[in-house]
């Protein structure tokens, strides 16, 4: 009744091909974006911006990248943390070594370097699939771990191996406050996710999905597996590299190679699995789940345990978070293996029929 795709006509092919064909969807998404741009900086306090929204946005971007590779193209990758590291350190080296380098150029160039590295480590995908490819990309992870610890040039010959950036500015706009950083991340994420969404809706995306579903059949009808798989690695690594640059520059400010360890790769993989493989929206859901849930638990568990009369130590809280988190992941995958995005689309379909049953 409220949510339906009938009643509004389109009069051009262009209008027919828009991302959100249902009018209410369009309004809702535009409203959400408008609120994110205008409302959130006014309403949210510094902690929410710095510790919740900025990591959420950056990791969503990385999750979109991983989703393109794993969800849309079907190539399992455990090297996402490494690609984030490559993007971060490449952006850092350009930023520090080239005087007057603009921040946006440094980040995008970091993404491009990450693309090259991603394509290189994607070459095994032309020969192996599934678990074996996962192991090959794991090699990427460990290689990058080693490289950023041992090759001093990459960390600007820093004694401690830790690097810092500060005084970020974009065309005169100084990113000092939490709101500035948030808006910058939001802008980057919106632009890149729009690009990603259009890619997956187009011919390139369909080729990826063909390779994912049945790569032999796809190659029979003329889709080149080599170029398609490598293009998936390329686009995915670009997005992950830019996300890595943002994570390092905007969120951490000062980082060492362990910030992009295997734990980060696994975290990104969990995000796309929980959020929904093969869905851009799902990447956002997954990132929200993985970023927000531990914070929520660490805030509410002490209060909740207080209600029940016993006090949990910080260690017990931390362990309880891990346990609840793990249990929820297992439960989710049993209840809805296709992830939160599937739950969302089921909900929308029900809403379209409501108040009728079918």
């Amino acid at each position: 009744m409220i949510y339906r795709d009938s009643g509004h006509m389109v009069t051009s092919y262009r209008a027919d091909q828009q991302i959100f064909p249902v009018l209410q969807d369009r309004w809702a998404v535009l409203g959400l974006i408008g609120f994110a741009i205008a409302g959130v900086p006014l309403l949210a306090d510094e902690y929410v911006l710095r510790a919740v929204l900025i990591p959420f946005l950056i990791l969503s971007l990385a999750a979109v990248g991983v989703n393109i590779l794993v969800g849309y193209c079907g190539q399992i990758s455990l090297g996402s943390g490494a690609f984030m590291a490559v993007g971060a350190y490449a952006a850092y080296n350009l930023f520090v070594r080239v005087p007057g380098m603009p921040l946006v150029v440094a980040l995008l160039a970091g993404g491009l370097v990450s693309t090259l590295v991603g394509v290189f480590f994607g070459i095994p995908s032309l020969r192996v699939r599934g678990l074996y490819l996962a192991v090959a990309t794991l090699a990427a992870q460990f290689f990058c771990d080693w490289a950023f610890l041992r090759i001093k040039w990459l960390t600007n010959n820093s004694i401690s191996g830790s690097v810092t950036v500060s005084n970020l500015e974009v065309a005169g706009w100084h990113l000092n406050s939490a709101a500035d950083n948030y808006l910058f991340c939001l802008a980057v994420v919106l632009v890149l996710c729009l690009g990603a969404k259009n890619l997956v809706r187009g011919a390139v995306g369909r080729e990826w999905m063909a390779i994912r579903d049945m790569d032999v059949a796809a190659s029979v009808i003329g889709i080149q597996p080599t170029s398609v798989k490598l293009s998936a690695f390329a686009v995915s690594s670009f997005l992950i590299g830019v996300a890595g640059g943002l994570w390092a520059f905007v969120h951490l400010g000062s980082w060492e190679p362990s910030a992009f360890s295997i734990d980060r790769s696994l975290q990104l993989l969990f995000m796309v699995i929980i959020g929904g493989l093969g869905s851009i929206m799902g990447s956002f859901f997954g990132a929200a789940f993985i970023v927000l849930l531990p914070l929520l638990l660490s805030r509410t568990l002490p209060a909740a345990s207080g209600l029940f009369g016993f006090e949990l130590s910080t260690a017990a809280n931390s362990h309880a978070e891990s346990m609840i988190f793990g249990a929820l992941i297992v439960w989710f995958l049993i209840v809805e293996p296709h992830g939160l995005a599937r739950l969302w689309s089921l909900g929308k379909r029900r809403l379209m029929l409501w108040p009728f049953a079918h």
Binding site: E46, Y47, R50, A51, P55, V96, L149, I159, S160, G161, S162, T164, S166, N167, N176, H251, L252, G253, S254, W255, E256, S258, A259, L295, S298, S313, T314, A315, N317, S318, H319
Partner: protein, 439 residues
Amino acid sequence: MKHVHSFFASILAFAIASPALGQSQEQFIPSLVYRTGPYAPNGVPLANGFADYIKLVNAKGGVNGVKLSFEECETGYATDRGVECYERLKGARGGATVFHPMATGITFALTEKAPGDKIPLITSGLGRSESADGGVFKWNFPLLGTYWVAADILIQHIGKKEGGLDKLKGKKIAFIYHDSPFGKEPIPLLEERAKMLGFQLTLLPVAHPGVEQKSTWLQIRQLRPDYVLNWGWGVMNSTALKEAQATGYPRERMYGVWWAGAEPDTKEVGEGAKGYNALALQHGAEPQAQVVKDILKLVHDQGQGTGPREEVGQVLYVRGVTAAMLSVEAVRTAQERFGKGKRVTGDQMRWALENLNLPQPRLDALGFKGVMRPVSTSCFDHMGASWARIHTWDGSKWVFSSDWYQADDQIIKPMVKAAADRYAAEKKLVRRSSQDCQS
């Protein structure tokens, strides 16, 4: 009319008076801890010591009547979680007074954030060695010592054992370190000393978390160094000792930094670690210290103890107590200047930390007789003291085995200044002037 006027007047008076009434009279000191993860065995006594000392101060009536409020936040030794804890707690309960990152990685990240938020960082015995230069690092306080001090004192001790620093020429020293900013910090000083004294330094990194050391110790067996310096933390230390035992390297020739010389590292190995030496950041295991007895009496006997009773007085427990003591004494110093019995702001705390003066009588009165030496910071010296001793594991406990050493400022001060200048140039900071020190 008159009633209405007086009514409004009284409301106005109440409105003006109430902010002063509503002002929180508690001094909030957050604690970043790691009670989970591979560094938990060492992080737990640190956190417990810190918490117990705060409780002791509150039991004695607080600082001039101002009670200390306190909250722990679990970081798991991870930088991003440390940053999240910092963001969560910096404005809580009226504002954090000071932060103890307790991890070098987190220190690096917070060094960028703390100046903007005007909250000082105490990085006692860890962090960046160049942050001892208060002219550049206005908000960092590596009180009691940095890693360059530690490395220098170890070389001095080894030189003394050999019969003179000149006898070190031609000797082989292996340096096994945690492959992180924490482990890499002392390398510049060791390389400088190697150049000066002519010993051969071999760097052997161990990847986090430090349980994989078989290949490292194989290399050591082949190299046969005269001494092994251990810069580990958490499980890396006990693993190193077990591997040393397995390869037969004499533990008497192993020297650990002050984070690699505590009961969690050696208790498991027990007799196998006998003879292992480590630096003591002024204090060691102090079961007889007055402050430890006070804590047992006023905190643990009242059922308020944070951890097990057996832990009280152990090395890392006392480390936590010392860290808390330095914070509390800085609060007291700040109150003396800015108003006794009132809450202290972050900026006032910073002033107090760079004007911290704890002579021996004061330390004795606090219960640290025989445990600590005097501490005195200044605007340009944020370290305050650079004394340390060596203690040795005798199979069941840590006992002191050397005199007091002081780091050689002739070598360290120029290095600190050079590194601080490099940092200032990179961040486009201007060195502080003497006027800036007055505030």
